[in-house]
């Protein structure tokens, strides 16, 4: 049965999660535990170590021959070779899936090299492909950042849309004093939120459904960067509260992201959502996003007090086959460093691909995939502008710890492995977090 047949029958779309590289695997593991039923999770890596930590998702070792389970050591070309050689099996994995999330941390070898190729396979298998990508912290170095920017562009070229979360956003929000593991946790929450928000929107039975077709219409063939925000609020003023949180959300860029959106999928979930509440949300959002096509859905049942608001922001990008409106980027091979705020999704131009370059050029560029991103366009966010955004975000919550709390509320990860110990001091012994299950730290696979 083809995908569209299934749609016509009104069955739920099949959703596949593909985690690539260590970060992707980590995220997919978390997601597999909390995602709604009907989401199938796969973990793909060139590194046996990260796969041995898979318990919730189906592990798949990329490149059994090379690099034979040892990881790529940051070489994305090696990863490309590995996925290419595994194409047949990967097509099997992707078969019959309507919506594929390609979840990846850009900047290393595996994720960066494999994600565009895999997204392309999924595309060819007829799926709607949504990339979910993290990019490195600034402090990880310009090389890694460039590698990530290149990977992000390539992924965007093939995927219908990419939800991008720069890890550096956490630093902007929380300050540089935050512990690394906390920063990653926050970043991961946002990344998971994107996948969960969309999955729930599509799978939760609703009175007014935001359907798979709606998602398709707003992102298919756009090849643009989008974002997902998920907020929750309860009590008397739950609508006002939720809208405030939405605007304070890092992905809303102080409202800027809403303003530029081409379409918005809004889903309200919770007990007894009233027409007045629906109206209030719709008005609040459409006022800030006058030109966007808006689809509003309501799902959830029972007496749940909290109002959950999920907003998918899609940007126009370009449509498949449409003429490229901007000139191809001018690559300057001599430029080694860049003042590119690479953590800013909107500075990445929409055309050109180093993946294509690698194929088309004489191979010179393939060597190590040296990619020097072009200078940011003039209208990109300046540091001052960024400061403003942060201030806007901070205004809601002048107190820093309080602000962090709100961010964490966005995604109640009910069963993360920390579970019961969330509120207590972590038990760290010689740098090892003993709150994490022993069998996981020892890399034991249960099957």
């Amino acid at each position: 049965m083809s995908n569209s047949d299934k749609q016509r029958e009104g069955a739920n779309p099949t959703i596949g999660l593909i985690g690539l590289g260590e970060t992707g695997v980590k995220l997919v593991e978390i997601l597999a535990m909390i995602a709604p039923d009907g989401v199938v999770a796969h973990s793909l890596d060139t590194d046996n170590r990260s796969l041995s930590r898979c318990h919730q998702s189906r592990p798949f070792l990329l490149g059994q021959a090379i690099p034979c389970g040892l990881g790529t050591g940051g070489d994305s070309a090696l990863a490309r070779g590995a996925v290419e050689s595994d194409s047949d099996e990967l097509i099997e994995i992707l078969r019959g899936t309507d919506l594929v999330f390609v979840v990846v941390g850009m900047g290393g070898g595996t994720g960066t090299g494999a994600a565009p190729f895999l997204a392309n396979l999924a595309k060819q298998a007829g799926a709607l492909v949504v990339g979910v990508a993290a990019t490195p912290f600034d402090c990880e170095g310009i090389q890694r950042c460039n590698q990530a920017t290149g990977g992000l562009r390539d992924l965007k070229q093939v995927a219908d849309t990419v939800f991008h979360f720069p890890n550096q956003n956490v630093v902007l929000m929380e300050g540089a004093d935050i512990a690394l593991h906390q920063a990653l946790e926050i970043a991961n929450r946002h990344l998971c939120e994107a996948v969960l928000g969309v999955s729930r929107m599509l799978l939760e039975p609703g009175m007014l459904n935001v359907s798979f077709a709606d998602l398709q219409a707003s992102v298919q063939g756009r090849h643009s960067l989008g974002s997902v925000m998920h907020v929750e609020a309860s009590g008397e003023d739950r609508v006002d509260d939720a809208v405030q949180k939405l605007l304070a959300h890092p992905a809303s860029q102080g409202g800027e992201a809403l303003k530029n959106a081409s379409s918005l999928l809004v889903n309200l979930s919770g007990g007894d959502v009233t027409l007045a509440e629906m109206d209030a949300v719709t008005v609040a959002i459409s006022n800030r996003s006058p030109s966007a096509k808006l689809v509003v859905g309501v799902s959830g049942q029972g007496n749940e007090e909290a109002l959950k608001l999920t907003v998918v922001i899609a940007h126009a990008g370009k449509l498949d086959g449409a003429d490229r409106e901007s000139a191809p980027p001018k690559l300057d091979p001599n430029r080694q460093t860049s003042d590119l705020g690479y953590s800013d999704p909107f500075t990445v131009p929409d055309t050109g691909s180093y993946l294509d370059l690698g194929k088309e050029s004489d191979g010179k560029n393939r060597n190590g995939f040296a990619y020097t991103p072009p200078a940011p366009p003039a209208d990109a966010l300046t540091p001052e502008c960024r400061e403003d955004l942060i201030r806007v975000a901070a205004k809601e919550e002048p107190n820093r710890t309080k602000r962090r709390k709100i961010i964490q509320e966005l995604l109640p990860l009910e069963i993360v492995s920390k579970g019961r110990f969330e509120e207590s001091e972590p038990t760290i012994h010689k740098g090892e977090d003993l709150d994490q299950p022993t069998y996981i730290r020892r890399g034991v696979v249960l099957n």
Binding site: M33, H55, Q56, I415, S417, G419, R420, F421, E423, S424, E425, T427, H429, L434, D435, P437, T438, Y439, I440, R442, V444, L446
Partner: protein, 416 residues
Amino acid sequence: MAETWLGNEDTVNDSQIIVGLEIGTSKVCVAVGEVGENQAVNVIGLGQAKSRGVRKGEIIDVALAEEDVRNAIVEAEQVADVEIRDVFLGVTGSHVRGFNNTGVHPVVSADREITGADIQDVIKNARAINLPTDYSVVHVIRQHFRVDGQDGVLNPEGMLGAKIEVDVHVVSGRYNRLQNPIRLVNGLHLEVNNISSSALASSLAILGMEQKELGTLVIDLGAGVTEYAVYSAGVIKHTGVLAVGGDHVSNDLAYGLKVPLARAEQIKIDHGSAVIDPEVRDRKVSLSDDSLIPGRQIDLGHMQKIMSMRLQETFELIANDIGRAGLIEYLRAGVILCGGGARIPHITRLARDVFKLPVAIGRASTVSGVKNALDEPEFATPVGLIKFGAFQANASPRRGGIGRVIRRQVAALFGR
């Protein structure tokens, strides 16, 4: 803080009521004891409440913990038919540390005969410890004296010598975190006579003279923390707290088996094992009573694997710590387990494999009274606190009654 007196079991004439309180991670437990002649402790009642406001041995929700402590106290009062006004309180948590210290003192008198004043001075020196400012001393426990390098002197008074040294075991903890449970108890209009590390209390309940002499490791496997104490040559040599416990086992299971925590806890109690039973491999049990996921099955092999790995790691961490202190070969009486974790099937076998020593489950053999309080391993701490209280009462001047003197010492520390 005064020296913790654990010596000489002198006699007390009047029987006294002494109450031990453990605000544990899984339960709040109040043990009421009667200390009669010859310092014999008789447990006359127990009060218990499920603990909801504690993680890893420390209070995280004062309101809930307060309610639970109140309930346990009320129950104990009813069962023992006494009115509880003061308690000996167990303290624990990852911040509680034990270490050894030595005090040195030159004997100044012309004839070089060691006097009571010399002994006091050397102990005072041993107690002068440079702790970080936010730490307080919980115990200073006397181990041995040395006179001119001669080891193992129990009482040097009257001996001749130029230099006298004393080894002590010091238990310390963060001032604020020690004070939290004290403040909570005070909020219930109860006095805290004194505090004791739970590790010490459990060992007092369980070990007899002979085990302390031969050398024993006591491990209290609680829900939130695992506490341990080493005795050798009659004195305490080493104590430690590891903020890992039964909750970790359950949490690991919840994660690995994809079940809610409460369900994981139940599965652990019903089917748990400290070692992997080869017969159980690939055996499944149904969660038939689970209305949400009917027909859901749990793989027993996986369950026991997850569980045994956590427990083995816990024992290994303790073994490493004790090995570093060079104490393993002193444990001639082996290892004694207590706390709720001691109920896990085959836990002694696992401990034996890790420590390569004989292992037994501890009973509160050094006291008499309410049958179940003595047989159940999880009551070691509260029962031991009675024992601790009895020592304290005995060390303080007889006439003043137990409360006043010690209480003043506690006030000096905790009433800042």
